[in-house]
Symmetry: C2
Subunit: 276 residues, 2 copies
């Protein structure tokens, strides 16, 4: 509770080097940590119960109330805390005009059984692009979905690119890694509708019932859903296409399906702001 | 018609240097050229009538029929043609396992009057992210939309990142740059419904009539639609939101709206494949 705030001036300080190293998969795998950038997203993480390992903030913003608040949270969690110059922060994020705050968090994967009672999940088979994955996480959060299932080898949901694209939603959406067989067994037992999207599909998304307990299954960017897995789906939808394009970006296809699912549920629970 | 195919072995060859330089905005602005990668997308460009300035292909694929076809097209257009090694191509695209074919095309912007008779356009106010722009172009093509209007200063639709994200659709979707005032005047005269999306909006997209001649207007990633411009819209929609996320990625929001527009038009004209 009484840890001091270290004034860090060197980009070679250990906490700074750790924060910087988390761009690399090897460092993330060894430490089971990841990095989030920006005061808002770090606070999001804390509010969602993510465990903070370390906090770096620019001395230029040290007196701002929301940064004081973050420092208090960090102290309570016994996190390492470092006050740094903007140039040291830029050396961490490799960005000019870097964010003023960087948080280092413990990675947290859930298990399939955490998802048993939920009613809107996305399963992704071997997604490759971390920007797509982060954008899907952000979109799923936006429609009130609760969990992502990564099937087999996937890009890393804790990579910097994925966390950036997730815009804070990586903290509110739970992520589970699963083997195909385990996923199918679990899904069969728990009464989900498994809705796959596939260029080989024939059902129109707007005519396919996704009103109840649904898992939206999306295939890999290049190869789509594995044939075996497609055979297990309750419905295989194909988004309508026109023009010369022969497919949609994975995150776009997922977003269109998620909003269709929510439309079928009457946009239940949507936020009403400004007295609308 | 009888130009020879040059065998290029040096990464410092002028055509190779030109192709490489087109990653830079300055070089694109000076030459009014851009680069497309991959035999499929280069053919797409030729089929859509884009003017080819130069063609580079790997000698490993020189005898493949689709590459022979591209070379014939390039000869007809009096384009510069170079056969290169894979490592020279990789020096152009800065990618390992580069595409086997690189095309250099002339940039082509349309004018607003080209769009007068069309029924589905997207107008983007000052978009900043070329990946978003390319993804929007790909999605617009997928729903059969025909044109993009870039309002005021925008990221470059001919940047390599935008062309890559566009996946060939940059050739089939026409792009116009316009000043706000000119856009408003033109739009008023031509009977479009101007539908803006805004966090300040109050209309539900699924309850807003977008069945006829529509321009979907999307704001800048950070600041949304300018207030003045919002005042000119026939409707201001806000996509429903839930969870902790406070906004959607620009390309996702655009994709959700475009598929809603097409839903309202009964997915008219969608491609039916495999006897579905």
């Amino acid at each position: 509770m009484n840890q001091e705030i270290t004034e860090i001036t060197s980009a070679q300080n250990n906490l700074v080097k750790l924060a910087r190293s988390l761009d690399k998969k090897k460092a993330r795998n060894e430490t089971l940590l990841f990095r989030a950038e920006g005061a808002r997203h770090v606070l999001e993480g804390i509010e969602c119960g993510a465990k903070l390992y370390g906090l770096l903030f620019s001395k230029n913003v040290a007196s701002r109330p929301h940064v004081r608040e973050l420092i208090e949270h960090a102290k309570k969690q016994n996190a390492r805390i470092g006050q740094v110059s903007d140039s040291v922060l830029e050396s961490v994020t490799h960005r000019d005009n870097a964010q003023n705050v960087v948080g280092i968090f413990h990675q947290n994967f859930g298990k399939l059984d955490d998802f048993t009672d939920l009613d809107l999940l996305v399963a992704l088979e071997r997604p490759k692009d971390p920007g797509n994955l982060g954008t899907i996480i952000r979109t799923l959060d936006s429609v009130g979905g609760q969990g992502i299932i990564l099937l087999e080898e996937s890009c890393d949901p804790f990579s910097t690119e994925c966390i950036r694209a997730g815009m804070g939603s990586s903290f509110s959406v739970k992520i589970v890694k699963a083997k195909l067989d385990d996923f199918i067994n679990w899904q069969n037992k728990n009464g989900f509708r498994l809705i796959g999207t596939s260029l080989k599909g024939s059902d129109l998304h707007t005519k396919t019932d996704m009103g109840k307990k649904t898992i939206l299954l999306m295939g890999n960017e290049q190869s789509g859903i594995d044939d075996d897995l497609a055979g297990k789906c309750d419905a295989l939808i194909k988004l309508p296409m026109k023009g010369r394009a022969d497919s949609l970006n994975l995150a776009i296809a997922t977003g269109v399906c998620l909003y269709e699912i929510w439309r079928q549920r009457d946009f239940n629970g949507r936020r009403i702001e400004g007295g609308q």
